[in-house]
Amino acid sequence: MPLSNLSLGESKEIVSINASAELKDRLLSMGFVPGNSVKVVTQNIMGIILEIKGTRLALNKDLAHQIKVA
């Protein structure tokens, strides 16, 4: 399911990223790598804040839709 569907406090593993090469590389280098786990810190209309590899990242809904987790 897309990352945007996760709710507060939920923790899941990244499965795949659907993005342009440039954006994908940025995501990979920031820790969005298949197999890594993410944890949702905040989730509201503005977007989603999550923790990945001990770092806190904020992204908007559009981007969260492009990342699949399971």
């Binding site: 940025r26 790598v33 298949p34 197999g35 890594n36 905040t42 503005m46 770092t55 990242l57």
Partner: protein, 678 residues
Amino acid sequence: MKSYTLALAGNPNCGKTTLFNKLTGAKQHVGNWPGVTVDKKEGVWKNHQEYKILDLPGTYSLSPYSAEEKIARDYIVNEQADCVVDIVESPNLERNLYLTLQILETGVPTVIALNMNDELEARGEHIDTKFLEKQFGVKVVNISAKNSKGIDELYNAIKETIENNIKPNKLILFEKIKTLDEEGVANARYQKISKLVYRAYKKNDNIDSAKARSNKLDEVLTHKYFGLPIFGLIMYLLFQISIGDNLFGLGIPGLGQLLSGWVNSFWGWLTSIVALSLKNAAPWAQGLVIDGAMSGVGAVFGFMPLVLILYLLMSILEDSGYMARVAFVLDRVFRKFGLSGKSFIPLLMGFGCSVPAMTATRSLDEEKDRHITTIITAFMPCGAKLPIIALFVSLFFGSENAANMNFLIYLIVICVAIIVSLILNKVWYKGETSHFLIELPQYRLPTFISVTHRSYEKMKEFIKKASTIILASTIIIWFLTNFNINSFNGVNKTNNENQSVMCEMDDSFMASFGKGISPIFKPLGINGWRPTVGIISGWIAKENVVAAFAQLYGDDITDEYLEKYFNIENASKEELEEIGFNLGIYDRDTAHSIYEDLLTEGADDNALPTVKRDIPTSSGGLAYILFNLLCMPCFAAVGSMHRELKTWRKTMGGVGVQMLTAYIVSLIVRIIGMIFGF
């Protein structure tokens, strides 16, 4: 002596620039948000002059996608620094090691500096540097750039690395990933890192409380209902404390206004002393020093505390880590205007100075956003434009309405920026911005030392500007407004009663020049050559507008003027001093009340002070303020614009947009003024 080149590399916001400033004594802008450094900077190690240091922009990887990554990658891969210093944010070890692995893979001599190690130790955590050294084959040292710890150890490690040409181990990983695709490579790297971190990073499981606090803070500050109001409140406080004079409507003056009053009194005192000591000097010399240099520079100096306090508060905000949160909170709103939430950071910095603010647009992901943000950042009422607002608002609307008018002006400027952004999105740059991604740095309490240090630097910078560009401009304007061709062929000397070679301002070089251009501004309710000179001098530095006014309308505030127009020939010295005019200082409040009295008494036009003859209506005054705020920024900012927009065609296009916007907005204000009679 042989010299060496060091390159500082690392993730965004890992403290590279802090270290760079510590080592070189430079004063590069630092802040707690990703993307502060977006260009490579060069310096020399203060204590070890044989080392040249390069501060590369922060990157998450060495792939050749974004502009910053390309700069860092090209340097590390091609130019081959004698040693790369990889700065790692220790509390964020796992993610930071991703770039480290990429750097080590290039095979260049490297030293790894684990920054913010004291923060780690403070919470009872520890990184096993010996283990990492053995794994990577390069030196690993603990440092704290902020607190100047571990700098000697870093030096020794670098020296040893260069002398013995210590190169990183060829990890099995490097061979393995050659056969993998992009995702596989990233995966393999992170797997390796996980193993390393598991062995090297001794975590303290009890620190979850600190993390929980940070979570709570994020929950509130990025809350769907509270996020925006909290941001609004913080902005309100920021501006009230620095430039406002009525905090929460309680009549408490802001810190900036308070200090500003002191500086004005001091300058008045200084001017009177200088005037006294020049009593016997030639008229032109008195004019040059008192009317030229001191009144012009003084008018600018009085506003310095406002700018300084604003800058100080902004640097606290930047240090705290809040800026990245605001970018997130505002993203949805900004997207409606065709911008990214990250545009907020340059726009807010634009309230300080648009030169570094425009450079900060490089942290935006899309070129379209970068360019539009650069162009509209020029609209922001920067520190140098504050005096323009303050002076003309009190002149045309009275100081009792200052708070409301300031707010209205800010509102107009922000609306204009939004509309221009929307238009540029439709006309110039087409295309959608859809993704938003930002790292939220750890919240940090700004240190007293770093904040005061930066304010001190800002003050030094301002004094330098005042004593060079602004002083030179005021002297040139003084010359051009007090002399004409007849000053040099003896005609003035023969005709003037006092044998002075100076001329009436209305006959001066500047008047002839200004008269040629001023018809353009007539529809805006702005007459005469003086306001035109103000606008043009503002392109050199926006402070000049106020400085020029103090000079050009100096006649309004002399004793002779008072005597002539107010029938106070017999006023005592105390009475004159009370209204503050005979000090030669442009006292805004007094000026206003006197003008008001004059107007209500129905004085005839010629008796009006020149400024009221040139700009007779309040709407003209507002149009004049807005024109100065929105038109082409100072040349330094145009240079910064060119660096971001890359071509002169685009830069001139941007300036054209700004000029046109300024004219249209001022014209609309004037038309509304004519309809409603103000």
